[in-house]
Symmetry: C2
Subunit: 187 residues, 2 copies
């Protein structure tokens, strides 16, 4: 399969960082100030992250232009994710600062597609929040190796139950979602 | 104390609804497309809600202009709340649709100021999420009386542990926060 045009653009525009981590090949959508990223350990299928291209920790660090661009992108990506994953609702959440549970110090909005009863086997509708916090911890730990702050491309495989996905799987999902974003109306 | 100028503007611009509920006197900030509202049963002091003035249930129902205005307002209100309540972080969360836990079918972003260890006595940092879901249920039930969908101004007092606040307390907080928003830089 040929590379989606938007993926070519992203690879040319890179490198793209999520906090200290190089994530260029996991990015599926790029705007002037924002990118959207597939997840190492999605809580549910279609769980993605939206971040400003500038690495800043807090929402208040964003300029008004970056803020608008970030949330217009959240809205468009969320609409695409709901369509592609056949969801009926979405959780949108930002842990803005360490004392709110943020572990990677780079603004990121979680977008998580939801369906009726999707987490009944995990303790019900609200289980997503505990998983979200677990997930963030995993994300940081999985990316990080010895050498705090070292920029790394490949996640460390850890011994937790929810295994991080391999790079090939994430890149294939990024290409699929890039194609779907190309189909999404601009407004 | 004299009425803050922005509260006069809000009262003239009203009525303002949160879903089916009339909330004009609990609103402390108003922009062309967005308002900010004090909470009947805040999870933590300073827990507020930001909503579009147009009553629509889903983020994707917002126009791009409404989306930008909503999140620029979230950013400014969040900055003010963090300052006024001496917080170090914020949770920002949207339950976008019933299957994500939304109970009042009107887009609303929760902004919750956080401090280190603030929920240790409630089960730790993540307890905010369970409380958030409880809160939403409370909010809906507290506003609603017999007569589904009836527009009501005064919350019903229920017999739950966390009592809804009285209207006077909420209006005083709205005036205080209105004054603080008047001091907040535009950008």
């Amino acid at each position: 399969m040929s590379i989606p045009p938007s993926i070519s653009t992203i690879l040319k525009a890179g490198p793209i960082h999520f906090g200290p981590f190089l994530v260029t090949t996991q990015v599926f959508h790029l705007t002037p100030h924002t990118y959207a990223l597939v997840n190492l350990k999605p809580i549910l299928p279609g769980h993605v992250l939206i971040s400003p291209r500038r690495v800043v920790p807090r929402v208040t660090d964003l300029t008004p232009t970056e803020t608008s661009d970030l949330f217009l992108t959240v809205r468009r990506v969320a609409r695409m994710i709901e369509r592609v994953y056949g969801a009926s609702s979405l959780n949108i959440a930002i842990q803005d600062g360490a004392d709110a549970g943020q572990s990677v110090p780079h603004v990121h909005a979680h977008v998580i597609p939801r369906k009726r009863g999707d987490l009944d086997h995990r303790g019900g509708m609200d289980a997503v929040y505990e998983m979200l916090d677990g997930e963030e911890g995993d994300l940081r730990d999985a990316f990080r190796e010895e050498g705090e702050g070292e920029r790394r491309r490949f996640p460390r495989v850890d011994n937790e139950e929810r295994k991080p996905r391999d790079m090939k799987e994430m890149e294939e999902e990024a290409w699929m979602l890039a194609r779907e974003m190309e189909r999404e109306p601009v407004d």
